[in-house]
Symmetry: none
Subunit: 238 residues, 2 copies
DNA sequence: CTCAATCACTTGTGCGGACGAGTGGGAGAA
DNA sequence: TTCTCCCACTCGTCCGCACAAGTGATTGAG
């Protein structure tokens, strides 16, 4: 029985209206059908219609005027997507060959500083080699404080099929809140060069993942060969 | 009788919760009182409390988890400052020594493609070497289509004291709208290495500056030595 | 004709109730 | 002891209803 869940009704109403706006059926400036009419058309309660309309208004699709009606504004423009290598790494599912090493090691100085622990404190280091078309395309190491790793599988060599973020949230309710990312160009370390099979310059990424309280959940360091990776970013000029 | 209207109850509830979050009474990560408790405390219906909480969640103050509770995230921050080397370069004032070369040259292929002109079309190349503490810290080249450069000083060797952006806006009313930026790690070209005085890997930045209509105003290419530059970025996890 | 009251329509806000589903802990069975 | 089931608690959604308040056209008194 793989019954797919129907989306909530207010979302269905929203979607229908959005589609009509995009299709031009409701043109900018037009008045939408009144709440009462929508109630009849979609056969739902007014609560539901109102919630759909108010959400659309908050998202900028429409404008509502007390006593007059709801009016189409058009598709709201959203901030363009950005490249976030730090998050992508934590999001990524792992495959069997990607995880090469998981150990408990003394934290190197720069990692310890980012994790907020004393130098040489034991931490979990989880190293992975990402591949594209059979060739290694990146070397990534995830560093976890012991408190974070405790009771999870991040300190076990098996691949995490749903990615680190999902895993931490599922088993320990740890939620990612924000990421601090530092990026530079450097030569790969000898070890990275071997794993990558190339001594060419790499993008060095150092990302710190925090929870809502600001505690550091993990640090990610990665080497992305410059000839394979290009980070793109589009932004508005204020 | 100038009775001020009381704000709606859901807004009062929102405001109260926001204030408690700002005051630290509800700290990030904390669980908020349950809907039922808030109903009792504020003496309103659940509809009202739910609306307040859902609005707060949409605005990023809190996070709601089905079956668990509502949790404080903190004051929603405006998008954090990002590093935008592309824009910084155009914004920067030039000093006497920084501009090394201004020529009219045939556009190299990759630049021509970004400018949207045919290969080998003549364009203006404006090269600069940025310095920090007397040492060269970056090599930047700005490429302008002739139509853009016409009537401006960007094709003249004198330094632009207020930066390229200001200059273009002042003399030709050209306004920057958005920037597309591509970033990678590479070895410096022979020329760049000489100017920088070092063969170490560099961050290669290629930025395209557009106006509101999408036309390309200029392309910027830069080499930022990895040992001198680190780009930092902080972002919220959705 | 002018103007004000009225009325039908719109959205804004609010309540109480209902049922569903996810979570987590504790009681009880194995 | 360990595991499973159950139950209390959470939020998610939806309904019907009610009344307030803004808007604009119609009506009717003057």
């Amino acid at each position: 029985m793989s019954m797919d869940f129907a989306p909530p009704k207010y979302a269905q109403v929203m979607k229908a209206i959005q589609q009509r706006i995009e299709a031009g059926e409701y043109a900018p400036g037009d008045m939408l059908p009144s709440e009462t009419q929508l109630v009849r058309e979609f056969a739902v309660g007014r609560t539901t219609v109102v919630r759909a309309l108010q959400t659309l208004a908050m998202q900028g699709w429409i404008e509502r005027e007390h006593g007059r009606g709801s009016f189409v504004k058009g598709r709201p423009d959203s901030p363009p997507d950005r490249v976030r290598p730090g998050l992508a790494v934590a999001e990524q599912a792992e495959s069997t060959e990607s995880v090469t090493e998981v150990e408990r090691v003394a934290a190197p100085r720069h990692i310890a500083r980012l994790l907020g622990v004393a130098e040489r404190t034991p931490v979990i280091a989880r190293r992975r080699v990402a591949k594209q078309g059979g060739r290694p395309s990146a070397v990534e190491t995830l560093w976890f404080p012991l408190e974070v790793a405790l009771g999870t599988d991040v300190d076990k060599p098996g691949p995490l099929r749903h990615g680190v973020r999902q895993h931490l949230q599922a088993v320990k309710h740890l939620r990612f809140d924000h990421v601090t990312e530092r990026l530079t160009a450097r030569n790969p370390t000898k070890e990275e060069a071997e794993l990558l099979g190339s001594p060419k310059p790499v993008l060095g990424v150092l990302a710190t993942v925090h929870d809502a309280a600001g505690s550091v959940l993990l640090v990610m360091s990665a080497a992305l060969p410059g000839d394979l990776h290009e980070l793109q970013d589009v932004y508005q000029v204020s």
